[in-house]
């Protein structure tokens, strides 16, 4: 030891059990604050991405699909699945329903184990002329419109841009990869209407798919709709359900909000959990420090005898607490990140909401706040008990059992 300044550090090293116990407490504080906030933020991000991803006010699906309820997981989460209805639905809506601003069909096809992929993937075809849902998404990663025979793939499909892959024995060219959404949509393949029709034909030839007995050219899977500002979305929805036969129109928001509702439950549960963990940890920390400082009374008294002022004692206790909580909170943050990275996907699968980490800057900011809050908590609880000890006369403390 070179000077009294290194005493706090020496104390931590020489009392490992004590240090480790307090370190674990700080890790707890940090994991709950950092991990918890990040979880809530990631869920929020996930919901936002679902909403912007959909971009539609109303979704029209075949009536059977709606009653089976399978459409939700297919449209929102991109679980492989397909359903079909007559393509004339498009024209019927255009003619009979007022207040439609935009509408665009989508085509779903589930690939067999494809050349690229060891699992079944969802192929989503859209019409570049009318689409307003997928295109903005694609433009961000690709910047151009898709030509016939081109596909763009989700972030976790294991191919590289420029590769040729075979779907139903048809060769298609991978021209780009989308950003991560945190859902099964990351494993989907997107292409334009001509390409998907070609693939649907090929699938039918191989007798892998049946289009309710129709020709692949005569079917679509869903219609996405945008409602004009001067029309009520609910009115348009019921209008379609009333006038168009064999389909079910669903308000997009209601689809998401059922997810969103359960999510806000989760968020507030996490919030309560953070608060409880902090309260408990703070109490335990305060008790630990007060016990430790009680036990160290004699040591402090000796330092006082040798000429340490009250301030020097406080600063020793303070610095020990700051070092421990700093190390502990950084450790806790790393631990949370590790857990997040390892389990984000299973989390997504479990709750059906994409789990998207916020931007790096936000993560860093949340981390900084966590470290600061944990250090503050440690310093305050340590200071309270240190202050109590050093207010006593040294001569009185010295008498205490050695």
């Amino acid at each position: 030891m070179k000077s009294i300044r290194s005493l706090p550090f020496v104390n931590l090293i020489k009392k490992p059990a004590r240090s480790v116990a307090l370190l674990i407490l700080s890790v707890f504080l940090a994991v709950s604050a950092f991990g918890g906030s990040l979880a809530v933020m990631s869920l929020r991000n996930g919901i936002d991405s679902l909403e912007s991803r959909l971009g539609a006010d109303i979704i029209v699906v075949p009536y059977e699909a709606a009653t089976k309820g399978s459409y939700e997981s297919v449209i929102l989460q991109g679980n492989p699945g397909a359903f079909y209805m007559r393509h004339t639905v498009l024209g019927e809506i255009e003619e009979e329903i007022a207040g439609v601003e935009k509408l665009s069909p989508q085509y779903f096809l589930v690939s067999a184990k494809a050349g690229c992929c060891s699992v079944r993937v969802q192929i989503i075809g859209f019409d570049p002329e009318t689409d307003f849902s997928v295109t903005p998404w694609i433009e961000r990663s690709y910047g151009k419109t898709l030509s016939d025979g081109d596909v763009i793939v989700g972030s976790t499909v294991e191919v590289s841009t420029g590769d040729d892959i075979k779907l139903f024995d048809q060769r298609v060219n991978v021209v780009g990869q989308l950003e991560r959404t945190g859902t099964e949509l990351d494993t989907a393949i997107y292409c334009n209407v001509n390409t998907v029709k070609q693939l649907m034909q090929a699938a039918q030839v191989k007798q892998l798919v049946d289009y309710n007995g129709s020709d692949p050219d005569q079917v679509i899977s869903s219609v996405l709709l945008k409602v004009r500002d001067d029309y009520d979305i609910d009115d348009v929805t019921s209008d379609i359900n009333l006038h168009v036969r064999g389909v079910k129109a669903i308000r997009a928001k209601s689809m998401i909000s059922s997810v969103s509702d359960s999510l806000s439950g989760v968020s507030s549960a996490i919030g309560v959990l953070i608060a409880v963990i902090w309260l408990l940890s703070l109490i335990i920390m305060a008790i630990s420090f007060s016990m430790i400082n009680q036990e160290r009374k004699k040591e402090f008294a000796v330092l006082r005898v040798l000429g340490a002022s009250r301030r020097m004692l406080s600063s020793i206790v303070f610095r020990e607490a700051l070092m421990l909580t700093c190390a502990g909170s950084v450790g806790g943050i790393l631990l949370s990140l590790l857990i997040g990275l390892l389990f984000a996907d299973s989390f997504t699968a479990a709750i059906g909401v994409p789990f998207l980490l916020p931007a790096t800057g936000t993560i860093v900011a949340v981390g900084a706040v966590t470290v600061a809050a944990t250090m503050l908590a440690g310093a305050l609880t340590a200071a309270v008990s240190a202050g109590k000890v050093s207010r006593q006369d040294t001569g009185v403390i010295l008498r205490g059992e050695s």
Binding site: M1, K2, L303, R311, T394, G395
Partner: protein, 227 residues
């Protein structure tokens, strides 16, 4: 340095004889000048440690003043009193007074590191003191590995480190064998001869041989035994 206590008393809160407090030290005048080695003996519980703490600036008196030369100890704020004690008054507390996270050498150097850095010069002096007190082999040991007598000698070496003007030793030879008792007492005597004011609390008859003055403390009252 000259220590002068004027009309000091110390009372502690405790139920005794119907009162809520009792006097551990009745009104006392006491002076200890440089070059003098004074010894206080007396029955256990008589108030010796209480007086020593009062003189060392470690215990606020209930009344009266304690001055070191012309400085009133209890008029100083904590920061100044602490620095003053570090520089001028060395207290060897009764019982064990080691800092258990530091080695023997670091313990001995501790007073010099409070307001300064570790220097080669100080290390040299610590080494000499350890050799003199027969604990040089233990320089890198931790206090938990030391015997009671070794800890005692460590505390004595530590008190000598800053060459203080005043040494207040509470039973410094308590755990020591005859040989080490002689070494320690000689060292304290030499320090007094070099100009320091030295107060030793002891039950040891041997100590009296080195004393310039002997007091008795009983029931909180100090009496001069012989001068």
């Amino acid at each position: 340095m000259k220590l002068i206590a004027t009309k000091i008393t110390k009372k502690f809160p405790r139920q005794r004889d119907g009162a809520n407090f009792f006097y551990a030290l009745h009104e006392t005048d006491f002076a200890l000048e440089g070059g003098c080695l004074a010894v206080i003996t007396g029955r256990s519980g008589g108030g010796k440690t209480t007086l020593l703490n009062l003189l060392g600036g470690l215990l606020q008196p209930s009344s009266g003043t304690v001055k070191a030369d012309d400085v009133d100890l209890y008029q100083m704020d904590d920061k100044r009193l602490s620095a003053f004690r570090n520089r001028h008054i060395a207290v060897i507390p009764q019982g064990v007074s080691a800092v258990y996270t530091l080695t023997v050498t670091e313990n001995i150097l501790l007073p010099t590191m409070m307001y300064g850095k570790r220097t080669a010069e100080n290390a040299q002096r610590a080494e000499e003191l350890m050799r003199h007190l027969g604990i040089a082999d233990l320089r890198d040991a931790m206090p938990s590995e030391l015997s009671g007598g070794e800890l005692r000698r460590m505390a004595i070496a530590r008190a000598m480190m800053t060459a203080p003007g005043c040494i207040l030793a509470d039973e410094p030879t308590g755990d020591l064998d005859d040989e080490n008792t002689a070494v320690v007492l000689k060292l304290l005597r030499e320090t007094a001869d070099a100009g320091a004011a030295v107060l030793v609390i002891s039950h040891d008859a041997e100590t009296l041989k080195y004393a310039d003055r002997v007091y008795r403390m009983d029931g909180g009252s100090l009496t001069v035994h012989h001068a």
